[in-house]
Amino acid sequence: MNLYSSSRKKPGHLQVAVFQFVSAAVCLWLLSGFWQLQVQSPDVYAARAERNRIKSLPLLAPRGEIMDRDGRILVDNSPTFKVLLSRAAMREENLPLIAEGLNIPYEQLRAQLRRLRRSNAPEYQAVILKENLAPGDIAFVESHRAEFPELELIRSPKRLYPQDGLASHVVGYVGEISDAELEQLEFALYEPGAEVGKAGIERQYNDVLSGSDGRRVVVVDSLGREREVRGNVEAKPGRGIRLTIDLDLQVVAELAMEGKTGAVVALDPRNGEVLALVSRPNYLPNKFVGGISVEDWRQLANDPQKPMLNRPIQAQLAPGSIFKPIVALAANRNPVVDMDFSVVCQGGAFFYGRYFRCHKRGGHGRVTLHEALVQSCDVYFYTLGNRLGIDSIAETSMLVGFGEPTGIDLPHEEDGTVPSTGWKLRFFREKWYAGETISVAIGQGALTTTPLQIASAIGGLAMGGEWHQPHLVPHDEMQSIRQGFQPPAPRRAELDSSAVREIVRGLWGVVNEAGTGVRSRIPGYDVCGKTGTAQVVSRQYAKEHDVEASKDNAWFVGFAPCEAPEIVVVALHEHGEHGHLAAPIVRDVIKAYFDKKQRTRWTQRKTTSAPAQTASNFSMLAPRRVRP
């Protein structure tokens, strides 16, 4: 049996014992490893296993639509997809393939990731690789689910604004929430990367429009395939908002301002509803969706015309002659003169040792209040202003709403300046000189107003002393948006009704008696108005520098019907040289208003007799079917 054993004596038991000890040591060493993982820190690994398999995908809520007063959609959403890259699940070697498949420059992708890594953003924060996916991109992601589990398609409703920037300063735009905004209480529930309103209605009513995102929690396997749905919170779409804006009037105002710089505001003085609000030049809100490019932003920010400025509420300019009705009202409230007070205009007059010119070199001769308004005689109002003094003018200016924001529901409204002795003392620590009052009396000097303030002031004056707060969301809409909303009470003032009638008659004359505003005449309609030609720089400067920027600003404010106004329109044509050139803009808007009113009345008659026809789509852009 023992063919190969030279001895029956076996080798030492020592080696066997060593083997036994080594075996025991190995087992204990390995077991200690399991102890460490499973008993000492199982939570760490359980959490990592959980992160492996649980995927939480945002369901983005579409923002509410923004509609005009007739329910026509101004701002809508279009369904798009974006693709996210999960950094926790990312495989470095897949990146070139992904970049190629989605047509993104690989270097750009690398740079994006490097930036995130350097900013110490948490791993779970996904990277938006591409938005607005083309069908080819979607197919690429769908068909490579197994190869690239780190990619995730997300349905993301994209904001769709009107083309050519229609009503851009009303609706505003959306953009990614900024770090500064994240700190604010209003955005406490938002996460980085969220899309929020940045300007206009989008900003003002962001909470109403934004809705709330949902979340879908699923269990996935290592290939990214969904195995079960753990939780599904549907997205709650944002609430739509109906505005007071009338698309028909807005379009007319936009077209009238085409190529010009300035603003148009149309208000219903009976309730403060804003019917049209135009600021030119405008911007294209669609460019902001999904992040504006650096180049586009630089272009907007550096444009000397300041397209981002919301001129109707932010342009603080000298109103010029359209301030004269307010001076006339001040003269009545602080009876320095009778209603039949008259002045002889010889093309200018001396006040406090300085010669103040009238815009008409030859002079207007003897003028009463009526003629002074119709002809816009400066000398008459120099005289009134001189007798009133700055503080009386300021008092009436404040009464009609100058010097403070109107309170319109848009962000960043400016307040303008109403100079007075107190104002000058406070801001310049200087005494007011009576000579300065003369300029203010014709709407120049330190006096500045916004177009909206003028529309509101003149509208309220025409209403006989009742100023309604301008607003873009109708009160009935507000009551359903915000619980317990109470429409603000109008500001009322006891005005001498005969004086108001006299001023309105003067403004009627401006348009209808060969005054400065004849260009806003609409045959068959009762339009009142006032031109304004406001100096931007001194006449001396303008003479020396013949440049566009030193040309006068053209203003026109008009309302109709004169006795019971339904609409008041202000047009500002910056550097338009003379107020009567702004008048046609106002005329177009007022005409559009009455045309539409006629048309509506006509179709209502028509539909009651022939119920088969629908009374929709009576846009100004549609062929005219008006037959009063």
Binding site: M1, N2, L3, Y4, S5, S6, S7, R8, K9, K10, P11, G12, H13, Q15, V16, V18, F19, Q20, V22, S23, A24, V26, C27, W29, L30, L31, G33, F34, W35, Q36, L37, Q38, V39, S41, P42, V44, Y45, A46, R48, A49, E50, N52, R53, A89, M90, R91, E92, E93, V219, V220, D221, S222, L223, R227
Partner: protein, 363 residues
Amino acid sequence: MIRHYSARDFDWVLLGITIAITMLGLLEIYSATRNTPWQEAHVRQIVWIGLGLILLWVFSAIDYNILIHHALTFYAIAVALLLLIMVLGQVIGGARRWLLLPGGTTLQVSEFVKVVLVLLMARFFSALHPERVSAKNLLKIAGLFAVPMFLVARQPDLSTALSYAPILVMGVFVAGLRWKFVLVLALAGALILPLAWQYLQPYQKERLITFMDPERDPRGSGYQPIQSKIAVGAGGIWGSGFSQGSQTQLRFLPVPHTDFIFSAYAEETGFVGVTVVMALYFAILMKIAGNAKTSADSAGMYICMGVGALLLFHFLVNIGMVIGRMPVTGLPLPLMSYGGSNLLATFMLLGLVNNVRLRRFTN
């Protein structure tokens, strides 16, 4: 020559432990392959276990001295088969390791080479006994081992090739070596290691680097060790329950029925289940050591110690890999991992151990 061996002498405890481990492995294979392309794996494993038991009986029945007598013949056949595979072998996963049998079954010859090498080692060193190993003899046996190691490494299957080394090391260790030799060998090893690095495949280098720092590339070469550690840790003390482990069931764990079966098992049975199996493996090693002690002659002792060294090596490397204390290699866990060749070879080896025990009384 014909001797009667009583059933009492058969190592029933060793058999019982062996079967217990294979059954736990079988359950885990079933759990880890449900709803996957390998969901038939447990049925095949049952067949392998059945065959293995027969082989265990066969390798217990034939006197190990006879087997040792023919060791050189077996060795020649093994080398011939390895050479044959280099020409005719089935290529699976980029390596030429498998011999296709009629009926579509594939056998991994390199697994069976282990049995041959254990017999060869036992023959060589028991013949020397009680001499100490001389340099000449050491070179001789090392040369004999080097041929199959080289052939297997060329397949390429470096980890299986390296798993032969413990058999030789154990033989030398038991036979006894001068300290001078040990020093020289250690020095030679230290010199060869950096050279060997040059000859490693890129993926092998990568594995060794990530073993040092797996989080360096969590989605690439670090993926397997990280996911394995997550699976083990997520199991906690009591485990997630049979077929409830998310790492295993959602396939975050790579090859959970073969190389990483112990991660899957650890996730689903927790520290408690791990302790049970570790105890069973430890018991097998102690039984083997016990049989080595009581063997009738030095040849039997060498056989037992060779088997013990081989199993301990597999055990250490595979389970060490599961908890991230060893680099990722393709070595299966004997008796638990799915796979016929390794299972059959392990049963043969345990049959040899039992063989030695059966013939421990020499009168």
